[in-house]
C-alpha cells in the first residue's frame, strides 16, 4: 500500500460555504523562538468545538479578519482535543498581524483541508522523523499522535535540527521526547554555539551519522526545501526506497480547496491532493517546481 492508495477516509468535512471562516479564540500563546509563536485556540461555537476533528498533516486557513488569510498546518495532535494549535513564523502581512494578537483575541479558521499522514501505512512500522526549523510543526502532530498510540508503531527516531539553539521550536516537547525511553531523539544545530552541548551539523549530515535502519521503516521529512532536497539522497543511501519516504510540501495558497490555482505542481494541487506526498510521487511529478 502506498499513500496514493489511501483514499480520503471518513473525516470531518467543512459543510456549507467553505469560504466562510469559523471564529476561534486564542487561548494561549507560546513563544517558541524570537520569530515563531504557537497559538492554542478553540472554536467559539460549542457544537463545532465538539464535532471538529482532523488528522495529523492536515492544514487550515487562518485569518486575521481585515488583514487576510494564511495557511499553516495544525501542529497539535488529533489525540489531544483540548484545543487546536498552530505554529507560525513571522514572515509577512498575516503572520505579522497574528503575532501582534494577544491571548483572548479572535481569529478565523477554515478547514481542515488536504490529506494527512498515512497512519494505516505507517502502522506496525518503525518511524524515522526528520525535521528542520519550523518544519517540526506538522511532524509534532504526528509524533504526539504516535506516542499516544505507542503500541501501534515500532521504534521512533526523531532527528531535529535548527540554525541555532535559539531557533529550536517546541523545546518543551523536545525535553519530554528526550526523556521518553521509547523515542530515540537527536537534536542538532547548524553551527557551534555557546552553551550548546549537542550535535553540530546540518540535518542531512546528522541523519547520515545517526543512520536509522530502513528495514520496515517509514521516513517522514519536513523542513526548508533545501533540507528536504538534501535529506532524500541520504535516506536513499541508507536503503530507504522512494515509497518509504514521506514529506509535506508548502506552497502559496489562498483558497485551500484546489480552485484559486496557485499551488499546483503539474496537475497536482498541493492543497487538494497534498500536502503529504511520498518521495515516489514527487519524483514522478512532471514538474521540478516543488
Amino acid at each position: 500500500m502506498t499513500i496514493s492508495d489511501i483514499s480520503h477516509r471518513k473525516r470531518y468535512l467543512p459543510e456549507g460555504n467553505v469560504y466562510l471562516p469559523h471564529i476561534a479564540v486564542i487561548e494561549k500563546i507560546i513563544y517558541e523562538t524570537p520569530n515563531v509563536k504557537t497559538f492554542h485556540f478553540n472554536f467559539k461555537d460549542e457544537k463545532l468545538k465538539e464535532e471538529f476533528t482532523f488528522e495529523s498533516g492536515q492544514f487550515g486557513e487562518y485569518s486575521v479578519l481585515g488583514i487576510g488569510e494564511a495557511t499553516f498546518c495544525i501542529s497539535s495532535s488529533p489525540t489531544r482535543r483540548d484545543n487546536l494549535e498552530c505554529t507560525v513564523a513571522r514572515v509577512g502581512k498575516v503572520t505579522n498581524a497574528l503575532h501582534r494578537l494577544g491571548e483572548g483575541a479572535e481569529i478565523g479558521f477554515r478547514g481542515p483541508f488536504g490529506n494527512s499522514f498515512p497512519l494505516d501505512y505507517m502502522a506496525g512500522k518503525n518511524l524515522v522523523l526528520v525535521a528542520g526549523g519550523i518544519g517540526l510543526a506538522p511532524l509534532r502532530s504526528l509524533i504526539w499522535n504516535a506516542l499516544d498510540n505507542r503500541a501501534q508503531y515500532g521504534s521512533i527516531d526523531i532527528i531535529y535540527g535548527a540554525r541555532t539553539p535559539g531557533d529550536l521550536c517546541f523545546k518543551y516537547d523536545l525535553e519530554s521526547w528526550e526523556k521518553d525511553s521509547s523515542v530515540n531523539m537527536t537534536t542538532t544545530v547548524d553551527r557551534e554555539a555557546p552553551d550548546w552541548q549537542g550535535n553540530v551539523g546540518f540535518v542531512p549530515a546528522i541523519t547520515e551519522k545517526v543512520a536509522p535502519s530502513a528495514k520496515n521503516a517509514v521516513a517522514i521529512v519536513c523542513g526548508p526545501p533545501i533540507m528536504i532536497r538534501f535529506t532524500f539522497p541520504v535516506l536513499e543511501k541508507l536503503g530507504f526506497t522512494p515509497a518509504q519516504m514521506i514529506t509535506t510540501l508548502e506552497k502559496r495558497m489562498k483558497c485551500g480547496i484546489g480552485k484559486c490555482g496557485r499551488c499546483n505542481i503539474g496537475d497536482i494541487y498541493v492543497c487538494r491532493d497534498g500536502p503529504v506526498f511520498s518521495y515516489e510521487q514527487i519524483r514522478n511529478f512532471s514538474s521540478d517546481e516543488y
Binding site: G68, R252, K254
Partner: protein, 340 residues
C-alpha cells in the same frame, strides 16, 4: 423578446457603452449587437466570476467578531448574444468550481443565469475555435442558440432552461426546412472563416516531452512582459486571489479578485518562489491550459477565442508557441521516465 425577458431577468447584452466592449445591462433600445456581432473584449465569465466579488462581511459586536455571509440568491440574469467559444468556456470552468468542494459564489450565479447563445458570423483573424472541437456557430453549453439566417433568427432549444424562457413567446414560428438549410449554410460559412489552426492531438503528444526544455521556454517567453491581460481576458482563466478590506470601525469584508499566473508574486512565498523566472510562468500558463487541465477534467482549457492574441501588448501568440513545440526531442522528462 428581450423586453419580455427583461421582466424576469437582468438582461445583459454585448455593449461598448462603458468604453470597453463587455456584457452590460440592456438599455431596452440599443440593438446594434444584433447587426454587428463581434465578440466582446471582456469575456462573459465576469458575470459569474466578477473581477471583484464580496465573499462575506464581518463586524465586531461586543468585542467579538460576527461573520455576515453575503445573503440571498444572486439576481436572475440572462446573458444574450454569448458566442459559442465563451459559452464553452463557461462549461469548462464549471468543472473546477464543482470539483471536490462546491464554490457557492460561482455556482449560485451560474444557476441563476440563462445563456442565450448567438452564432458568430464574423470571427476575428485571431480566432481558432474550430481547432478545439467546435465551430463559431455551434450550440455549446448554452440554453438556447440563435443563428442569423438573413431575415430572421433561427432558434435552437438546447436545455430545459432554454425551453422555459421560450414558452409563451410571441413571434416565434416553427422553422422551415429552408430555414434549417440556411442555418446549416451559415454555420458552414462561419466555420470556413476561422483560418487559424492548431493540431491539438499533436500538441498533447508533444507537451509531455518538452516540459524540461528550458531553452525552448526561455526563447518563447523572451518577449512576454508578464502582464495580466491575457489571463484576465481569457474566458477560461479562473484563478483568483483573496483579500480583506477593513474600515476604521473594525468592520470589513473579504473579497476575491482575479489573479494571474503571469505575475511573479502569484506563487511567491517567504522562502522561495517556484515560478520566479518568467519562462516558468509562461510554461505554466501553456501547460495548465493544454496539459494539466485535460489531465484533470479531460478537456483543453482553451476555446480558441483569440483574446489573448488580439489583446497582447507584444502579440505573444499561443498558437505559434504551440505549433513550435519541439517534436518529440527526448527531453529530460522522457529520460526521467525511463530512469524510474
Amino acid at each position: 423578446m428581450l423586453e419580455k425577458w427583461q421582466k424576469e431577468f437582468a438582461v445583459f447584452v454585448p455593449s461598448k457603452a462603458s468604453g470597453v466592449s463587455q456584457m452590460e445591462v440592456w438599455d431596452g433600445q440599443d440593438t446594434a449587437f444584433l447587426d454587428r456581432n463581434r465578440n466582446t473584449a471582456v469575456p462573459p465569465k465576469a458575470k459569474f466570476l466578477p473581477g471583484m466579488e464580496k465573499m462575506f462581511g464581518f463586524r465586531k459586536e461586543e468585542g467579538s467578531y460576527v461573520v455576515e455571509p453575503t445573503d440571498g440568491e444572486p439576481p436572475k440574469q440572462l446573458l444574450f448574444g454569448i458566442h459559442p467559444c465563451d459559452a464553452r468556456a463557461i462549461g469548462i470552468i464549471d468543472m473546477v468550481f464543482k470539483d471536490a468542494y462546491d464554490d457557492k459564489y460561482y455556482l449560485s450565479r451560474r444557476e441563476n443565469t440563462v445563456l442565450v447563445g448567438m452564432a458568430c458570423t464574423s470571427p476575428y483573424d485571431s480566432c481558432f475555435c474550430t481547432s478545439l472541437g467546435f465551430g463559431p456557430a455551434d450550440a455549446t453549453d448554452v440554453d438556447i442558440m440563435l443563428i442569423d439566417i438573413g431575415d430572421a433568427l433561427l432558434i435552437e432549444e438546447v436545455t430545459e432552461k432554454g425551453r422555459g424562457i421560450l414558452a409563451g413567446a410571441k413571434g416565434v414560428i416553427e422553422a422551415t426546412e429552408k430555414d434549417e438549410k440556411e442555418a446549416a449554410a451559415a454555420r458552414e460559412s462561419a466555420n470556413a472563416k476561422v483560418s487559424r489552426k492548431i493540431d491539438t492531438a499533436e500538441i498533447s503528444r508533444r507537451l509531455p516531452l518538452v516540459f524540461n526544455d528550458r531553452e525552448f521556454w526561455e526563447e518563447v517567453s523572451a518577449k512576454c512582459v508578464s502582464c495580466g491581460i491575457c489571463t484576465f481576458l481569457c474566458p477560461t482563466c479562473y484563478c483568483f486571489d483573496i483579500n480583506d478590506e477593513m474600515l476604521q470601525d473594525g468592520s470589513g469584508a473579504r473579497y476575491r479578485n482575479w489573479d494571474c499566473c503571469s505575475f511573479a508574486i502569484y506563487t511567491r512565498m517567504p522562502a522561495e518562489n517556484p515560478r520566479e523566472e518568467k519562462w516558468r510562468r509562461v510554461r505554466q500558463k501553456v501547460y495548465h491550459k493544454y496539459l494539466f487541465y485535460p489531465e484533470l477534467f479531460n478537456v483543453i482549457a482553451c476555446t480558441g477565442c483569440g483574446r489573448c492574441i488580439r489583446q497582447c501588448p507584444v502579440n505573444w501568440d499561443i498558437t505559434q508557441t504551440l505549433s513550435k513545440l519541439p517534436a518529440g526531442s527526448p527531453g529530460k522528462a522522457e529520460e526521467k521516465q525511463k530512469a524510474s
